[in-house]
């Protein structure tokens, strides 16, 4: 499970370290209780795409006190998967795109334009082109 922080306040020096210690303790306790992989919850995902994406407003899923969890839009995930372009992402995309009205390379490009910033597209240009080539090649 990957998550993005929506508020930067959590990183203020006054309480960030305390926050992270509490968070890590909680994640470890859940991992032990539920026999999960130690990395089951990844809250560093922003480090990978910090200057490349436009994060859409998600749907509020749960509130736990001050912690509010939003679920991101499926089309945003599709855009991220095209950009990542690893084998497993393309396999996922083939299934996910079939569930949408996206049938052409141009439509997929519009999806990318909505969520991947120009700088992000430029940096990942080669892998995006390869992903689109494969996803929309004539059979």
């Amino acid at each position: 499970m990957d998550f993005f922080w929506l508020e930067e306040g959590v990183f203020q020096d006054t309480y960030s370290q305390e926050t992270f210690i509490a968070l890590n303790d909680s994640l470890q306790s859940i991992a032990e209780r539920r026999t999960l992989d130690p990395g089951w919850c990844n809250y560093f995902a922003q480090m990978l795409m910090f200057d490349e994406v436009r994060v859409p407003k998600g749907r509020l899923w749960k509130r736990f006190g001050p912690l509010h969890i939003y679920i991101s839009k499926a089309e945003y995930i599709r855009a991220l998967k095209i950009t990542a372009g690893r084998r497993k992402d393309l396999d996922d995309c083939a299934i996910l795109l079939a569930q949408t009205k996206i049938r052409t390379r141009q439509q997929a490009q519009k999806l990318l334009d909505r969520y991947i910033l120009p700088g992000g597209q430029a940096k990942n240009a080669e892998q995006i082109a390869k992903a689109l080539d494969e996803l929309f090649r004539e059979k």
Partner: protein, 190 residues
Amino acid sequence: MTFEMLKALAQAYSDQQKRPLLLPSKIQTMARAYNDICTGEDPWTSLGNFTNAWYGYGKHMRSDLIKDPLTRPEQETEHTRHWGAFCAASVDYLCDLYHQPCPEWARDPYYILETPWWYTLHPENQAERAAVQKTAPAPFARRNIFCTNRLFQNKYEMYAWIQEALALGFTNLSEIHTYARKKEISLHGA
């Protein structure tokens, strides 16, 4: 995202890495990953779990993650043959990349496919075949598997390279990302 936020996240990641190591009750070796595939698990879920072990919690015990040979299923199918070869190729590839001795079983000619596996979305398409013939990493091509070279790119190394860039004094977000991407390309080739 601000530079301060990135720095705080990188610091939190570094702190998390220093915590006492927690191993899961079930360590995902390659043999286990293949067994999961043969019993119906999605191949990339099984390999993803293996990747988490290889790059994450089991990084200090990599040889243990790959030493056991794959258990062949009673009834081989094209699916199990393909993925057996893919697991063997992955071990060979990762051992080469991270300077680990490659276990004997992974070099067994049994894992060389008799007919090429064009692992793309449109295997009949000639342009796609030509593309993967160029990009398939050698351990895969040797086993007659033709696929992309974007297979094992992962967040763990990216986090480490971002931290490296911060330690080197980079303060521009875009430059930090470019530094990490260049490292990724130099290691994985894409």
